[in-house]
Structures are given as structure tokens and as C-alpha cells.
Symmetry: C2
Subunit: 192 residues, 2 copies
């Protein structure tokens, strides 16, 4: 998505340790006009896919997921993060390792809001190692539902998350794939 | 807002301890069509007010805040919750007491995204005791910015948050004010 890539080049900041900061328009301050264009793009790319629900994880994916769900005319569900090990019986849950914070957390979704009739579009803002995303895939499977597709705004193509997901045979569409950020220079993967 | 009140009556669930669960359409599963109507309503109610930014707190206010920001054509910023006491120099921060969880957490916003020129519309899904909301008001003041108005989806009118905020002289608009939930019967405050 050309407009997104241009915005990353203009306003993204690269820090040592392969950190890409896009918090001026994506995940702290958020540009509603760009998010609306991103929702349109997901709708166009998954137009042939049957979707009954959009699923994301709190917090920064919620805005994009809601706008995307509006395009498809289906509910959006956001999975919640919790530290507690006492998981209630009325939720699906899975553990996710956070390498950033060196911790493990639980991700939960109420059983009321996912069932075996659901064709789920998973949306998130970032894909790097893919642990949170695999957690969402596990939640969908626990419900007996199907992952229809996954839409990601920015994928770090030099980390293994994208490969893990694609090897599962799930259609994964990332609107911008960053293949390298050496010396602060952002290089995007060519689109087919 | 009649449509919202009707939805609360249809799908809201009252539990002992004055708990109102609206997680089938507002804060776990989210109905994009209703959220879009809510954003329209906030835009109509604050149409005469100069707004340069919409501010909310993660996580459940983010979707509504983004759609509302889209109506005004301004950026949305969401404040982040953190447990850490080591607050970076480049953020505004304030402490918030959570009675629900019996804990205190810090709420932060990057100094990059709020300054003295900002006229801020604060948006959140719920108002009960008002601690999180007062935290957001503090952040805006720390930046030297002004709170132009506050928009709330559901206010628990029998708790003190609304009164606290109104006594500060800040224009506060709640789209549905629940005045009582005795015996599971939801009673709304009459609108002027």
C-alpha cells in the first residue's frame, strides 16, 4: 500500500535494535484518515473472502479492526490481555510470551463471542515474531471457528512471524513489509 | 441517545454490585454500526466547539475515539497504562487508582502529541467514579493544553464521577446516564 509506505518513510523513526517507531500516526497518536484508507484496503484485498467477525488484541489494533469490521458489516471482537492465571470457565484463553517485556501473559476471549460458525479475519497493527498473532489463531481454533485471513499493517519481514503464519497455510496480507532497516534506511519488500 | 439506550435495555446485563455488562456491543465485542452512530452523535453535540485532538485511554475507548476523531478531522491520541514507576522524561504522566482491581497504575502520553495549542475532546466508553477520566484531565493540564469537552458513552449517574467532572466546569456529555439498576431494572436519567 503505497500511501502507507510513504507515511512510514516520512514519519517512521528507526532506533538501534531494529526498532521502528510509528507512534505519530499508528500506535499512540493515530491518523483517522490513514486508518480509514487502511480499512478500505483490507476490504478490497479480502473482498472475495467470507468474513463473519473481525478479531484483534488490545490495544493498538482496536481502531483499525473496528473500521475494517465496519466495511464488512460484521462485529469486531478484541481479545484481552491479563496477568491472572485464574482463567474463568466462560472464556477461551492462551498464553503468549512477550520477548519485549520478558514476560508471559494470558489472552482471553469470551466464549459468547466466537463459535464454530465463525469465519474470522484477524487484524493487527504489527507483526514481528508473531507470538501474539499465533495466540489469536489458537483462540479461534479453541472456539472451533476458522481463520479466514489475517491482515497486518506493518510486518517486519526480517523477523520470523510472517514465515510462521504463512507456513500454516493461512492467507496473510501485510500492507507494508519492511525487509531491512540497516543504518536507519527502511527497505520495503516488492509487492507481487 | 435513544438508539444507545434501547440497545442497553436489549443487550445490557445487570449483575449484583451495580455491575452493568455491555460487552456484547461496546467493550469486548463491538458493534461498528452503533459506534459509527455514536461518533456522529458526539460530532453533532460538540459541533460548535473547537477541537484539535481527541484523547482517550486504552483500551475500550480507542475505537469510538478514532471514529469520533475521523468526524472532526483531527488526530486521536490514546494514553497508555503502565505499571512501571520509572517514567521516561519525554512523557506526561499521572497516577490513577483502580477501585475495581485495588491497584494504582500510571497513565502516560508522549509530550510530542499534546501541547499548549491543543483543544482536547476527551472520549471514553464508561464513567463511574471518574478516576481514569480525571487522570486524562490532569495529562491535558500538564501539557498546558485545554479540555474543550468530554464525551462519555455510558455514565453511571448514581456514582460520583459525573458530579466531580461537572464541578470542574468542563462540558461533559454522556449519551446515556443510568440513574439506577435496582432489581436489574435499568432507569435512565431524562435528557434536558
Amino acid at each position: 500500500m503505497q500511501k502507507l509506505k510513504q507515511r512510514i518513510l516520512n514519519d517512521g523513526k528507526v532506533f538501534p535494535g531494529n526498532i521502528l517507531k510509528v507512534d505519530s500516526f499508528l500506535n499512540h497518536q493515530v491518523d483517522p484518515s490513514l486508518m480509514s484508507d487502511i480499512a478500505d484496503e483490507f476490504y478490497a484485498r479480502f473482498s472475495g473472502v467470507k468474513i463473519t467477525k473481525v478479531l484483534t488484541i488490545e490495544a493498538s489494533g482496536i481502531g483499525i479492526a473496528l473500521m475494517t469490521a465496519a466495511r464488512f458489516g460484521v462485529p469486531m471482537v478484541f481479545a484481552k490481555k491479563t496477568q491472572t492465571k485464574n482463567i474463568a470457565a466462560d472464556v477461551y484463553s492462551t498464553s503468549v510470551i512477550s520477548y519485549t517485556h520478558g514476560t508471559t501473559y494470558e489472552v482471553v476471549v469470551s466464549k459468547e463471542f466466537l463459535d464454530e460458525s465463525d469465519q474470522v479475519l484477524i487484524i493487527d497493527d504489527f507483526l514481528a515474531l508473531g507470538n501474539a498473532l499465533l495466540g489469536l489463531v489458537n483462540l479461534v481454533k479453541s472456539a472451533g471457528a476458522s481463520v479466514a485471513a489475517i491482515g497486518i499493517v506493518i510486518e517486519k519481514g526480517f523477523q520470523c512471524g510472517g514465515e510462521k503464519i504463512r507456513s500454516l497455510g493461512i492467507p496473510l496480507c501485510s500492507l507494508a513489509i519492511v525487509d531491512s532497516m540497516e543504518d536507519g534506511k527502511i527497505v520495503f519488500r516488492e509487492e507481487n
